[in-house]
Amino acid sequence: MRRLNQLVLAAFLATLAPAVNAAEPNKDDEVPGLSDADMGAGSLEVIQNRKYKLLHEVSLLGGGLPVDPYYKGVTATLGYTLHFTDFFAIEFVQFTYSFDVDTKLKKELIRVALSQGAEAPPFPQIAWIADVAHVVVKPLYGKEAVFNTKVVHLETYGRIGPTFVRRTGSTDSFAFGFDAGFGMRFWLREWVALRFDLAEMVYFLSKKPQQALRLDAGFAFNLRGED
């Protein structure tokens, strides 16, 4: 019995020997050690996949043209944007109609003119704006915690492109210009987001360039048909 035990032990050790040899590293195949810098330790960032992606975007915005001294425009805007990638989109068209409210200065000037027996001067006012083929660049996408209890996804973007302006009250009734600005988008659902836009528009008439500050806020509807 004792001899049998010795034979079993010898057989067991014999089966272990190749495994021990295999476990020993071959110095020729040894992988050189990597430093923290090689591994990117301390600067390793993980970019999470985007939860919301846009494709066909229809925007409905309300806003204003607050700078003109003779009137303040209250605007309604409808636009369509096609998003090609996470970073790049083309705002094919955005149409803005302005409901203009006269300022006190304009009323005073009209009153002075009429009191002097002259006709009321024509004050040019923006009637509508058509933004076409705006390039939209969306460098920032992320999420923010709301009071550490909920998460809201947001995006910032810049947009620039040509624009056409229709003005009333002036012989120069149609003008060409450029429009540039930036905005933020906060997603409420996959199909709807809150948008805030700020832009400066410069358009050219016969004498000199005119400028108008544009402020908008509203909803953007994502018509993306897939997840």
């Binding site: 960032e45 970019i47 999470q48 607050p66 700078v67 003109d68 001294p69 996470d86 970073f87 300022t103 200065l105 000037l109 002075v112 003119a113 001067p121 460098p139 920032l140 996408y141 992320g142 999420k143 923010e144 915690a145 709301v146 009071f147 550490n148 209890t149 909920k150 998460v151 809201v152 947001l154 910032t156 933020m184 700020l198 500050l213």
Partner: protein, 217 residues
């Protein structure tokens, strides 16, 4: 113990695991679980320096130099104890246009102008998060809202103003962050109906805080 009692005990014992299982069932969908990451940046004493603009007045555009100090009580609340701005005002073309087109000279050079204002404001910071920059880098950001009041010097008079606004902060280090503030100054020049003045400010904020602290101040 009779047979009925034993039967009831056995039935009760069988019912207990079923009741426990029922608590794990969901009506329609599993509960949504959010994992809120620990904030890597926290503010304590904030010193702010910036350049701003007052773009709304028709007769001038104000370019401001602004400085401020805020104390952050927690991740969500802060007190902008003092924020002061001095405005250099530049004429627009309106005054000349009025004369050339309408033969009208604006009284007092086109109305009174804001030169200085200072406010103290409550700051609520509900949103904190991180943004991917072209999916390549990460920047931490915060969105906050302010409401405050203070004196404003316009023309030759001091008058009260209320400031309401929103701001965005982007960190570049625990000490330095960059802010964009968009505020509306409600200026009570005469009576209770205020005049509006938009104030847009870009500033650098320097944060002093015991960095060994892991919890919010």
């Amino acid at each position: 113990m009779n047979r009925t009692t034993v039967s009831l005990l056995v039935l009760g014992a069988l019912a207990l695991p079923r009741a426990a299982l029922a608590q794990l069932e969901f009506d329609n969908e599993a509960p949504r679980v959010f994992s809120i990451q620990e904030r890597p940046y926290r503010l304590g004493h904030e010193f702010q320096l910036g350049l701003g603009v007052l773009p709304l007045d028709a007769f001038y555009v104000g370019v401001t130099a602004t400085a401020g100090y805020s104390y952050h009580f927690s991740d969500f609340w802060a007190w902008e104890i003092a924020g002061g701005s001095y405005s250099l005002d530049f004429d627009t073309a309106l005054k000349n246009d009025l004369f050339s087109q309408y033969r009208v000279v604006a009284t007092r050079g086109g109305g009174t102008r804001i030169t200085t204002f200072a406010t103290t404001s409550l700051v609520v910071k509900p949103l904190f998060g991180k943004l991917a920059v072209f999916n390549d880098d990460v920047v931490y950001s915060e969105t906050f809202f302010v409401a405050g009041l203070g004196p404003l010097h316009k023309g030759n008079n001091w008058m009260p103003t209320i400031d309401l606004g929103v701001g965005f902060r982007f960190w570049t280090s625990p000490v330095l962050s960059w802010r964009l503030d968009i505020r509306d100054l409600l200026v009570f020049e005469s009576g209770i109906v205020p005049a509006n003045s938009l104030f847009v400010l870009v500033s650098a904020s320097f944060n002093y805080r015991d960095l060994n602290k892991t919890k919010a101040p």
